[in-house]
């Protein structure tokens, strides 16, 4: 009985409801991770796969950073759990009869978002390092299309992390009186700049996810022998 109450207070009912969207989401997530684990892609001709650095580290950190991200929270609460699935009052399904606990039960873990941000910031430089490695792979400096894609991926991830709400809080979200604080006006302008990025956080979140998947598939394509690389240095 006590265990049941404990479970009730911990597990939000949206995780227990029969919900094909949730099931599909879980299937997608598990198969994605499974593919990465079973068929790891490490490196091809100097291109280090963005999922490998090493995979065991990147996948959990990036995964949890994404799952606790405010942008994705909006998306999966809306489109996976249907709380609510649309803002339009005439089109969204009635969920009056469904139990709802918001971010009070299990989803409280989302409050640890900032720690995944810290970890994410620690692994960010490796993506630039991988770009550098790919440039000098042949012994001399060669710019190939793949390198550019690796750079794009690194920049997308940086923009996503730099526009994070938890970072915003760290920079100055908790400060009410910059006038009273050390280097207040500089910090406030930093906060204002970050706020502009923050306004596009949802875009960066999705863009960086699509980029990383695309780059991974691109490298797998290369490894499978597809002729899709290009030496840009030769074109110039």
């Amino acid at each position: 009985m006590a265990i049941k109450t404990l479970l009730n207070s911990m597990i939000p009912s949206e995780l227990l409801e029969p919900n094909w969207r949730l099931l599909s989401f879980i299937v997608l997530l598990i198969s994605g991770i499974g593919v990465l684990m079973l068929y790891p892609m490490s490196e091809f001709h100097g291109y280090v796969d963005p999922f490998y650095a090493p995979t065991v580290l990147v996948v959990p950190i990036a995964g949890l950073f994404r799952l606790t991200c405010y942008a994705y929270r909006k998306d999966y609460h809306r489109h996976v759990f249907n709380h609510p699935n649309a803002c339009g009052i005439n089109i969204r399904g009635d969920s009056m009869t469904r139990d709802y606990s918001g971010e009070t039960k299990f989803f409280r873990v989302e409050n640890l978002h900032r720690y995944f941000l810290y970890a994410g910031i620690l692994i960010l430089p490796f993506f630039y390092y991988d770009f550098y490695i790919s440039l000098i792979y042949s012994g001399s400096f060669v710019l190939r299309l793949g390198s550019l894609l690796l750079l794009l991926n690194a920049v997308a991830l940086t923009l996503w992390a730099a526009s994070c709400h938890a970072l915003r809080h760290l920079i100055g979200g908790r400060t009410d009186c910059y006038g009273c604080a050390f280097a207040g006006s500089q910090r406030k302008s930093l906060f204002n700049w970050q706020s502009i990025l923050n306004g596009h956080h949802e875009f960066f979140a999705w863009f960086s996810l699509l980029t990383i998947i695309f780059v991974d598939l691109y490298l797998r394509g290369l490894a499978a022998g597809m002729p899709i690389d290009l030496n840009l240095s030769k074109l110039l």
Binding site: C87, I89, T104, N111, H169, D176, G179, S195
Partner: protein, 248 residues
């Protein structure tokens, strides 16, 4: 003259509590807004049609309604932006009084529960405040209390929780972010005032006629403040150590 068709929700408790839509034809004027059409009905066809309006300039927040299923101000919604047939209903998150009028009085009860501004101890008066410190709080002070965000919020509308809703969350934020305010309301907001029930799905931000970034600039920053005092293990430890050392 060109006419438009408007379906207005009618409910008179003297008749029954169910209510139904009634169709009216209204002549179209250039630049007409939905409020013009509803007022045309009220002034010329049925003077007993209950509606609230006041400034007709999107500054008082009285004429909130659900227009074609979306919470909007009637005075700010041009009919030429909508489909041929317009449907207007009251903001249903609140108990219906009559026709387009609902009982929004519980908002004032909520505001009573939010501690009012109290100057920091020792703040010199008159206050000296840097302009960079007024902008964040001022964004939320643009709120015209139309309660459209409360209406669209699925937590308020569909679930029975203690969450006070977006309008009041930005009220708390506007007080918390006042540079001279001496109270931290975030523990209360995340406790008794139920901010944990907000799952940041941002419909409130989408419907705000003042364009206030409710979720990004008020609710998420307040959630992050809650993390500071409640969930962040390192900050909790640091506070405990500090308290321990000061106790000695």
């Amino acid at each position: 003259m060109k006419e438009l068709t408007i379906n207005i929700f009618r409910m008179d408790p003297a008749v029954d509590n169910a209510g139904k839509y009634k169709k009216f034809n209204v002549p179209v004027q250039e630049g007409m807004v939905v409020l013009d059409a509803v007022r045309y009905v009220q002034e010329n066809i049925d003077p007993s049609l209950a509606l609230r309006w006041n400034c007709k300039a999107a500054r008082c927040g009285s004429c909130s309604a659900e227009i074609n299923g979306r919470p909007r101000l009637m005075c700010k919604t041009r009919v030429d932006m909508l489909e041929e047939e317009i449907t207007v209903s009251p903001i249903r998150a609140y108990p219906l009084i009559k026709d387009l009028v609902t009982d929004v009085s519980n908002n004032y009860e909520i505001e009573r529960r939010i501690p009012a501004f109290r100057p920091k101890k020792g703040a010199a008066q008159p206050f000296l405040i840097n302009q960079i410190d007024v902008t964040r709080s001022q964004e939320f002070r643009r709120c015209i209390e139309c309660f459209l965000c409360q209406d669209v919020c699925h937590v308020i509308r569909e679930h029975n929780t203690n969450y006070i809703g977006p309008r009041h969350a930005i009220k708390v934020a506007s007080l918390d972010m006042h540079p001279m305010d001496g109270i931290d309301r975030s523990p209360m907001l995340n406790g008794d005032l139920g901010l944990g029930f907000c799952n940041i799905t941002k419909c409130c931000q989408e419907v705000c006629p003042e364009g206030i970034k409710i979720t990004d600039n008020a609710i998420i920053p307040e959630k992050e403040r809650a993390v500071d005092y409640k969930y962040d293990p390192i900050l909790r430890l640091a506070r405990r150590l500090r308290r321990g050392s000061s106790a000695k």
